[in-house]
């Protein structure tokens, strides 16, 4: 343990510059995503911009603040692959949400 501790000490003390950079970038990106609302972009543009900034911010936090960028692939892959289950769940629930809306409109308003 002593040994690994020393090792981790050497490698995890990245230069302070990189943290400040990421910090600054996060502020800028948050500001941009705020501007999406400020300028009231609508429709596909709004959604794609929101998602773009969101994933960028999330990626930066995970990669640098949580040090995932410097971690070994074994850990990174273990953490990211389970997200496929979430992606599948989201995709199916999008379809399900649409179908529920359809059936509500159809049976309560059109058919009823």
């Amino acid at each position: 343990m002593e040994e690994t501790k020393k090792k981790s000490n050497q490698s995890s003390t990245h230069k302070i510059g990189i943290y400040l950079w990421i910090w600054g970038l996060l502020f800028v990106l948050s500001f941009f995503s705020y501007l999406v609302d400020w300028y009231q972009f609508q429709g596909l543009l709004r959604w794609s911009l929101i998602l773009f900034f969101m994933f960028l911010k999330a990626g930066l936090i995970m990669a640098f603040f949580m040090h995932l960028y410097w971690e070994r692939y074994a850990l990174v892959n273990v953490l990211l692959w389970p997200m496929t289950a979430i992606v599948c769940f989201v995709a199916l629930m999008v379809a399900e949400g649409k179908y529920t809306l359809f059936s509500r409109l159809f049976y309560f308003f059109v058919g009823g």
Partner: protein, 612 residues
């Protein structure tokens, strides 16, 4: 992997095979295993009775605590099933069972057996006891958190049991707790009962998360020298994969519990549509009951495999040990376990074919469901091929394993029926479904649990269970369980619906009446037959013969502890060093018919041992 590459930077475990060739920079010693990465674990030894037996941090004691608590809930579940069978087989005989009671029994029986009995028993009980021993660790990596995990589970069980005594009794909504009826008047236990159930489930999830982190990190980060993932016993693989599933599936249960608690307490309408009750519109409106079903089964289907995978793993080890033959296709078995685990997150809505979900989903989920049968079938073939030409010892443990294979194949095949939408729709909510899931995730895992008890009892208690009583126990349980569930398939085909309090005088089901009586009688006998095990244990503890060390001549590390039963710290002064997989039985050229995982290559240089 090329030889050149191996030698350049090999930090893999070295055995004689991997370093043969043009060595450069690697020690030529054939028994070389690279040095320890982890420091010696800092163990906290108990100082008092309470620290040793109550708030104990030793995974083995925690395992036994989990085991006993789970068995206690299991006995409650068994008694509930008796009461249900009493009503179904002989309606009106027990006057105190009203329709409300019946639904409460159904609900509590289901929830107890699936979550508080099987899950806790396999992961909490066998997981805690076996993982550190089998991977060669001194204890779980976070003993304190592990202790908290058990006590959280204990509180969850206490809360669950408390729901029997609150006004209105326990919830009677079915173990799936489908809204909106779960929290509406008219359902038994719609007040306190359901609330305590949801709280208990949330506590269970929190407690399990603490334990699950321990199991995962112990397996991933605290194996002993030479123990690669592909040298782990399949028991560990099964429990590990099940833990991963639990860590990812229980969140959905937690979320649905929280949301339903809010629906119940605050009057939100997450799952509650607009409802007319006796001509009056209730406060609720705009929610989606289907959403609950999705969340629940996103948890619920992996849950099936949380129960099944440890059973697969354990039974593989038992079969291999007692057939004195290496497990057939070890790597295939591992990948099948992992594959089943991964796929189990993509099949959940096959429980919802008749729920009114998006009709296109049927295609997707039927496909994934049938795909998952492929790795499962592989496992069955491999068990049979392990037995094939093995030196099979028909002892009690082996009988339970064979019983498992039969019941599992039976339940698995009916699963193929139900996975198809067009077959499922008419069979949905009939006794066919009841027969299917009791065979596949009730009886089959139970067979493995029983086999595991007979197999590991000498390790835990240091005494051998009585074989004769064990065989009586097996045959009554196996034949009895078959008499219970096999006729249920037929009941399903003639259309007997499940979760009905009474069939009354339906002209369609006249042939079902006699069968129901038969099934109930069998159920009473099977339940009572479990007393044979209790008697066996009591008798063994009093007068049983002392177990020798490693009585089954097994290879895996749990049998090579410094003392039997193992003490805190498991392996005495030095941790074992592993050189091979745990399945080297009847290796040509070796004197004994087994080579322990710790046997060094130089000791067996003359044998035709496989490279693992």
């Amino acid at each position: 992997m090329s030889d050149e590459y191996e030698n350049k930077s090999s930090y893999q475990a070295q055995s004689s095979e991997t370093i043969s060739g043009t060595g450069s920079g690697v020690s030529p010693d054939m028994d070389y295993v690279r040095p320890a990465e982890n420091p010696e674990q800092d163990l906290y030894h108990a100082h008092s009775f309470i620290e040793k037996w109550v708030f104990c941090q030793d995974a083995k004691v925690i395992g036994v605590q989990y085991f006993l608590t789970a068995v206690f809930t299991g006995v409650v579940g068994l008694i509930l099933s008796w009461l249900m069978r009493l009503q179904l087989g002989f309606p009106g005989l027990a006057g105190f069972i009203t329709a409300e009671h019946y639904y409460q029994f159904v609900t509590m029986h289901g929830m107890i057996m699936v979550v508080y009995f099987l899950t806790a028993l396999f992961l909490g009980g066998f997981g805690n006891y076996l993982i550190p021993l089998m991977v060669g660790a001194r204890d779980m990596v976070f003993p304190y958190v592990n202790m908290l995990s058990f006590w959280m589970f204990f509180v969850a069980v206490a809360v669950l049991m408390a729901s029997f005594f609150v006004p209105g009794g326990p919830t009677g909504a079915g173990w799936t707790l489908y809204p909106p009826q779960t929290i509406l008047e008219g359902t038994p236990g719609h007040g306190w009962g359901i609330l305590l159930m949801l709280i208990s489930l949330s506590l269970f999830v929190i407690g399990f998360t603490m334990g699950g982190l321990n199991y995962m990190i112990t397996i991933l980060q605290a194996r002993t020298r030479g123990m690669t993932l592909m040298r782990m016993p399949l028991t560990v693989w099964g429990i590990f994969t099940a833990t991963v599933l639990a860590m990812l599936a229980f969140p959905a249960l937690l979320v649905s519990s929280i949301m339903m608690t809010l629906d119940k307490l605050l009057g939100t309408s997450f799952f509650m549509p607009t409802i007319l009750k006796a001509g009056e519109v209730l406060e609720y409106g705009g929610g989606s009951p289907i959403l609950f079903q999705h969340l629940f089964w996103f948890f619920g289907h992996p849950e099936v495999y949380i129960v099944a995978l440890p059973a697969f793993g354990i039974v593989s080890d038992l079969i291999s040990v007692h057939a004195r033959k290496n497990i057939f296709g070890y790597r295939m078995m591992v990948w099948a376990i992992v594959g089943i685990g991964a796929l189990s997150f993509f099949v959940w809505a096959h429980h919802m074919y008749v729920s009114g979900m998006n009709p296109w989903f049927g295609f997707f989920f039927a496909s994934t469901t049938l795909i998952i049968a492929v790795p499962t079938a592989m496992k069955v073939y491999n068990w049979i091929l392990t037995l094939w030409r093995g030196n099979i010892r028909i002892n009690t443990v082996m009988l339970w394993c064979l019983g498992f294979i039969v019941t599992f194949v039976n339940g698995g095949i009916t699963g193929i029926f139900l996975g198809n939408v067009s077959v499922d729709v008419p069979l949905s909510d009939t006794y066919f479904v009841v027969a299917h899931f009791h065979m596949v995730m009730g009886i089959a895992p139970l067979m493995v649990i029983m086999g595991a008890i007979y197999h590991w009892f000498p390790l835990v208690a240091g005494k051998m269970l009585d074989e004769k009583l064990g065989k009586w126990h097996f045959w009554t349980t196996f034949l009895g369980a078959y008499s219970i569930y096999f006729p249920m398939h037929y009941l399903g085909f003639i259309g007997v619906p499940r979760r009905y309090y009474e069939m009354y005088d339906s002209p369609y089901m006249t042939s079902g009446v006699g069968l129901n009586e038969f099934i109930s009688t069998a159920a009473f006998i099977v339940g009572a037959a479990q007393l044979i095990l209790v008697f066996n244990i009591v008798k063994t503890m009093k007068t049983g013969k002392k177990a020798e060390k490693n009585p089954w001549k097994a290879n895996s590390l749990e049998w090579f502890t410094s003392t039997v039963p193992p003490e805190h710290g498991n392996f005495g002064e030095r941790l074992p060093v592993v050189h091979r997989w745990p399945y080297d039985y009847n290796v040509p050229g070796a004197g004994e018919d087994y080579l322990p995982q710790t046997a060094a290559p130089s000791e067996v240089a003359h044998t035709e041992v496989e490279k693992t």
